[in-house]
Every structure is written in C-alpha cells, then in structure tokens.
C-alpha cells in the first residue's frame, strides 16, 4: 500500500495572468464533469420528493412544487427490515473477516516461510473469481448446514470470500512495520501472540479502519449471494431494492427513496472517512 492519494498537493503552480485563460478552461472541464456525476443524484432526490401523481416523463427534471416526504416512510416500510438485515450482516461479517485478515497478514508478513508468496497468490485468486463459478456448490453447502434462508449462511460466505482482500490489505500494511521491532521483541523473549498483542495490534488501527470501511461497503452492496442464499425474512437491502424497483407499474418516487435509504450508510462512510476508503480501493489493485 505504498500508493495513496496525498490529501494536499505539492507546491501550487504560480498563477500568472497568461495562465488565466487556461485556468478558466480547467474549471469549465471540472464543472462539466461534475454535472455528469451529480445530475443523476439531483434527479434521484427530486423524484424521491415528488408525490406519485406529480411524476411524469415530461417534467422529469423539475424540482417538486410540494415536497412529499412520505416516500421515505413508505420506502422504509418496505425495505426497513432489510436495511436492518444488511446492517447486522455487514457488521458481523466485517468484524470477523477483519480479525482473521489481521492475523493472516501478521503471520504472512512477519513470520515468512518458504512458499508464503505462492500461498498468498493462491489465496488472492479467491478475490477475483466470478462467484458464479462457486455459486451452486456454495448454495448446496449452505443448505446442507441448514443455514439456507438464514443470515448466518450469508455471513459465512462473506467472511470466507472477504478473507483474500482483508489479508492483502493487512499484509501490505504490516510490511511497512519495521522487522526490527519484531526482532527486538523476540530478543526480549516475546512470542507469536505477545508480539501481536503488544507490538502489532496497537499499530494496526489505521489498517483496521481501511479494512472495516472497505469490507463494510462491499458486504452492504453485494447482490449475488444476497439473491441466492436468503429468503424473504433474511434478504439484505440490495435484493429488496431490486424487487422494489423491478415492477413496471411502480411509481418512481418509491424506488428512488428506497435507493437513497440503501445508499445512505455507505455514502456517509465515504463522505466522513473517504481517505481510508480510497486507500482500500487502491489496495485492491494488488501491488504491494
């Protein structure tokens, strides 16, 4: 994880009069790009706040005359339970896979053994496979454990398939912790676990933040396992939203309000802790 986006830039280029026009061009480009990214969000909010009879294709872009907050209550009534499912799922799966990832990363980076890299590459492959290639056996397995339709089957799947990325992030993070620290502790007579507890774990907070944010977002947003391993009572919010928006005759304020609700947790995490989110993002491109 040597690549991070620095929060502040290097020395700003001096702006002389000649550069003025180019700077203006720069900002024009930025505004056009921002419109592309933000217009869908404007439409999302505007539609969610319209009353159903105010929604028609001809006035798609108009801001609602009267704000109709009821859409959110309706949407919560339809997918609120699924939001809570998602919350439980994401919190439990994130904590478990972060803890396992931290231990794995520690063992792989500080207690290197022959073939550790090969083993790690074999583990990482699990991060990239299309889950369609394991879905049928996974479904059978979860069913044979009696966990089909329960949130625990889904948690199991997310913890296992989250292991490669959490291990990757922690391994790269611990690689930057000087080996000398570990060696000094060994000389003082500390063993595997006491080094972890007293040296590594206290240094891990930023690593945990990155992993937790990344994993939480991934689990919250996932759809394929959600659609395959759960039933009505345990479905997470992504599946519920897809059903809410799927019908043709639906009035659009409802799925739009539902989309806002479903997006809010990860969006808040991103806005409040974006720096760590980006670090997880860049860690996903593998290079250590």
């Amino acid at each position: 994880m040597t690549t991070t986006v620095p929060a502040t830039k290097a020395a700003p280029t001096p702006t002389s009069g000649k550069l003025g026009l180019r700077r203006v061009g720069l900002y024009v480009l930025l505004v056009i790009a921002a419109l592309f990214f933000l217009l869908p969000i404007y439409l999302l909010i505007a539609t969610a706040l319209k009353s159903p009879d105010a929604i028609n294709l001809a006035t798609t872009w108009q801001w609602p005359r009267a704000l109709n907050w009821a859409s959110f209550a309706d949407a919560w009534g339809k997918i609120g339970g699924n939001m809570l499912n998602s919350l439980f799922l994401a919190v439990v799966a994130t904590i478990l896979s972060a803890l396992l990832g931290s231990l794995n990363g520690y063992a792989l980076s500080k207690w290197r053994f022959r073939g550790a890299n090969t083993l790690f590459a074999l583990m990482l492959f699990g991060m990239f496979i299309p889950y369609q290639a394991v879905l049928i056996p996974l479904f059978q397995f979860v069913k044979s454990l009696g966990l089909y339709g329960s949130i625990w089957g889904l948690i199991l799947a997310h913890v296992v398939y989250g292991l490669p990325i959490t291990t990757l992030i922690f391994r790269n993070y611990y690689a930057e912790v000087p080996d000398a620290l570990v060696e000094a502790a060994t000389i003082d007579g500390a063993g595997f676990w006491s080094i972890y507890r007293q040296v590594i774990f206290p240094l891990s907070v930023p690593g945990f933040v990155v992993v937790i944010i990344w994993e939480f977002t991934q689990v919250w947003n996932e759809f394929l396992f959600a659609a395959t391993l759960t039933n009505t009572s345990s479905q997470p919010v992504t599946y519920a939203l897809s059903q809410l928006a799927g019908g043709q005759a639906v009035s659009w304020n409802l799925p739009m309000a539902g989309a806002i609700l479903a997006a809010l947790p990860t969006l808040l995490v991103y806005i409040l802790l974006g720096r760590f989110f980006v670090r997880g993002l860049l860690a996903g491109s593998v290079k250590g």
Partner: protein, 374 residues
C-alpha cells in the same frame, strides 16, 4: 528464527483455518462446479429439485449445447455482448479517469471536493446505480430531454429497450474469426522474436501461425456450428448500461492515475522542462510512459469486474431483457430460476475461464517479481 519453533507453529496454526476455508470454498467449489457442468443435473426438470436426483455424466454436452445448441442463442449473444461491454467500459473508464486525473493534477482550487464528487459513485452498490440510471434512461424522460435545454427536439433513443444491433457477424464464422485473430497475433509474435534474434521462438510461432491460417483458409469456411446463420453483434441497448457503469467506476481509474501522477518525482518534470520539453511533450515522453503500468492494472481490475457484472444489468434492464443480458446474469437465472444446475455450472465455468485469462497472468507476474526481491 530457525527451524520449527513454537512461534512458527503458531503462525501456521493461525493461517490454517483461512487456508482450509479458501481451499474448500474456492478451489473445492470450483472443482465441484466443473464436475456438475459435465452432468445432466437439472436438464430434466423433474429431477432438478429431487432429494436424491439421478445425475448422469454427460461430458462436454452442456458446453456443446451452449455453443452450438439451437436453444442457446441467448447465451451466444451474451458472450458477444460481454466482450463489447468490457471493451467500451474499459475504454470509457480509462479515458474519463485519465482526463479527470490530469485536470486534478493541475491543482485546481477545492481539489478535495472535486475528488469527492468524482469518486462517490464508487461507494454505491450496482443495484442503487442501476435503479437511478433506469429512471435517467426512461424512453421519453431523463437523458432524452437533454437536447431540449438547447432548444432542440427531445431525443428518442430507446436506451434500455432498443433491439437494434450493429457490427453483426455470423456465429458460424466464429472458428474462422478466432483462428484468423490468433494467427495474426502469432505472426506478430514471430516477427518480434525474429527481430529480437530469438530464432527458435520465431520459427515455432511462425509455423503455428501458418498452420492456423492454413486451417482458416482451407477448412474453416466449411465448419458449421449451426444449421442456419445466426447473427450476433453489439446491441445498442447496452450503451445505456455502459454509461452507468462508467459513471460508477471511472472514479476508480481517476484515483489510480492520480496516485500515479503524484508519485512522479517533481525533479523529473523539472528536468524535462529544462531540456526544453513543451507541456505536451512532457506528457507524451515523460508522464504517459510512467503511467503505463497503472493503465495495465486498471485494465485488469476493470476487465474482471466487467466480465462478472450482472447486478447492474439486473437493476437497469431487468433479468428478462435478452438484448442486454450477460452470461453472469444468465448463470443466475438458469441455475436458480430454471433449476438447470448443470447448464448453469457450465456458464459459470466459462465465466471463470474468461476471468482467469485476465487475472492469472497478472497475479503470477505480480508475485514472481516480488518473490525475486525477497
């Protein structure tokens, strides 16, 4: 720290559960999927959900059915769609991401805010993105109203429901096309090897190319996968989904490129300026070559995402729109709606092979170089 000390045993004990889990859930399950794909499980609806279904070994029959069977035209179109989708999705993300990174590298005011705006779609799920864009791309609304802002008549492109396709080719010509493309690549390799002075390699690739092209010219035209011509091309309804996917993922390439640009030492730029390079010349000869490895990783990450994509399609166009469908979606429907598990497993295996082509060389090269350092 030599030998099998107690600490070393602990480190193995800690790794063991994860290794076992991944061995079972990744490699074991893949093996099981490949096995299922060679049976007839679910091809007879009565047997699909039986407690103890009678499952027979059928070898490659399911694959043959997918590539040449009369009923599986949908799958063949999806295979073509996913290639086009991947191509345009990667191009779109790279172009937009690089553009945004270059603009942000000029240190505009409020850089953090701009970055936040370009990256936020990354935090949404494909289902949310798909729900929003489905509404954006309604036939008479949303995007089709944009021309009106300039006083022009509204657009009438049917974004998600178009049934038109372009660049169509006959599926029967697929072996011919494949052989020709591979042959041309081999010729290219032969020429490069010859230039580099590697005679054995030049001769081997040259002979292989000659064999393939000879086959393509003499035998290929007579191969018929299907009794009748079947046309597949780039379905225009996919354009809307590609735009939404680029909207969501181009921030990722921007972040990658920006990290790369910020990693270029200031001295290099200064040196280029001292040597009299223009801005353009500096980008062309100094900066872009340094960004090449980032472009490659971005292509690989985006490529594997796009080969697997299906939730976006599910949310935008619905699962039953055959004009926008992709293999990953078909696998889900075939297995869990129609209970044709063997056929679904075959589609899953084909997807895995496609993704492995992209990922395996990348992972092995990543870790071979690292092992060299260690």
């Amino acid at each position: 720290m030599k030998g099998l000390s107690r600490d070393r045993l602990w480190s193995i004990a800690v790794l063991l559960p994860s290794v076992v889990l991944l061995a079972v859930f990744v490699y074991g399950f893949i093996a099981r999927t490949v096995y299922v794909s060679m049976t007839d499980w679910g091809n007879d609806p009565a047997q699909a959900l039986a407690v103890n279904p009678i499952i027979r070994w059928v070898g490659f029959a399911n694959y043959q059915e997918l590539f040449t069977g009369f009923l599986q035209g949908r799958f063949r179109q999806e295979l073509v769609s996913t290639i086009f989708f991947t191509l345009f999705f990667i191009l779109g993300c790279l172009a937009l991401g690089l553009g945004l990174a270059l603009v942000l590298d000029r240190n505009p005011r409020g850089e953090g805010l701009w970055r936040t705006i370009f990256l936020f779609p990354m935090s949404l799920s494909f289902i949310v993105t798909g729900t929003i864009w489905r509404w954006m791309l309604q036939p008479q609304g949303g995007v089709n109203q944009f021309p009106q802002a300039l006083g022009l008549p509204a657009g009438n492109f049917s974004w998600l429901s178009s049934t038109e396709g372009i660049w169509k080719f006959d599926w029967n010509a697929l072996p011919l096309i494949t052989a020709s493309v591979v042959g041309l690549v081999l010729i290219l390799l032969a020429v490069r090897a010859a230039r580099a002075g590697d005679r054995t390699r030049a001769i081997v690739s040259g002979v292989c190319a000659a064999l393939l092209l000879g086959w393509a010219l003499l035998v290929g035209p007579n191969v018929r996968l299907l009794p009748a011509p079947e046309l597949h091309g780039f379905n225009l309804a996919l354009i809307g989904i590609i735009i939404a996917a680029v909207w969501q993922m181009s921030g990722y390439t921007m972040a990658l490129y920006l990290a790369g640009l910020r990693g270029i030492p200031e001295e290099l730029r200064e040196a280029a300026k001292v040597d009299g390079a223009s801005d353009f010349g500096m980008y062309r000869h100094v900066i872009f070559p340094l960004l090449a490895p980032i472009t490659l990783s971005a292509m690989i990450i985006l490529g594997h995402i796009s080969l697997k994509i299906f939730d976006l399609v599910y949310a935008m166009a619905g699962p039953d729109n055959t004009y926008t469908s992709v293999p990953a979606l078909n696998m889900y429907l075939t297995s869990f709606r129609q209970n044709q598990f063997a056929l679904g497993a075959a589609i899953g295996t084909i997807l895995l092979i496609l993704v492995a082509f992209v990922i395996v060389p990348y992972l092995s090269s990543s870790f071979r170089s690292e092992e060299g350092h260690a």
